[in-house]
Symmetry: C2
Subunit: 135 residues, 2 copies
Amino acid sequence: MTTGTITIGRLSARTGVNIETIRYYERIGLVPAPMRSAGGHRLYDEDASTRLSFVKRARELGFSLPEIRSLIGLEETAPTCADVYALATSHIQSIRKRINDLQALEQRLATLAANCSRSENTECPIIDALGGAYE
Amino acid sequence: MTTGTITIGRLSARTGVNIETIRYYERIGLVPAPMRSAGGHRLYDEDASTRLSFVKRARELGFSLPEIRSLIGLEETAPTCADVYALATSHIQSIRKRINDLQALEQRLATLAANCSRSENTECPIIDALGGAYE
DNA sequence: GCTAACATCTGTAGCGGCTACAGGTTCAAG
DNA sequence: CTTGAACCTGTAGCCGCTACAGATGTTAGC
């Protein structure tokens, strides 16, 4: 084995990214294909670990794989700071929208549940609200 | 055509559920297969419209299709009010969790973006935070 | 009645982002 | 040298639709 390289299992343990997911990222070209051992096993260097961690953190921040691809500079040109900022702010917008939607949803559900008798029969205000009310 | 029945297109327009989605719901058994015209076109009655609206509203409240299936009483037994209440409250929990997660995310992204120079070069604090910081 | 335009039909494949096999090979420890 | 763990490839499945392709049905106007 080449010095300083690790197997996919170790890389997975180190980065917290599932083995299958690492291979998936390779397949779609999000991370480069690593060198191989004589027998065909993947061998990763430090760079690979860095790049994979980057992807993972970006995922945790809610970026999609195509977005990460451009963040990582895999497109023709590496993104400028202004590009990244634009992507980040548009992301923030959509996160805020989702929060709003979810809060409205929570309100509606909570209201319905509050009216609920929790009895053992099949008469239920939640079902009523879904079914008969306004159709 | 039988009196009082409508085509899938009209049903779609009336309920706001996509035609393809209606057929999908039928295929997975979420709504019953309707009668057919001589030529094989689907013909829906009022009941179908009611049931489809039910499904749509439940989807809007964030219930999954399997959950809706049990809400609708397609399982062996129709759910009791207590069952529905349990499902609703567990839903509320998971919605609250998602709201929390998204708010934390928004915070992190906003903080990163605030430090951003928005310049036209490739040096960027967001990228730095993703890439180098702690690996 | 005939034609044109539109609606609907079936079946299948694709989206995102993985995850889970099956059935085989390689590696490392003892 | 053997064992057992780790790894390999390839494919199919998850959810909830959506988007075709290519065929057939329906309906309005002439």
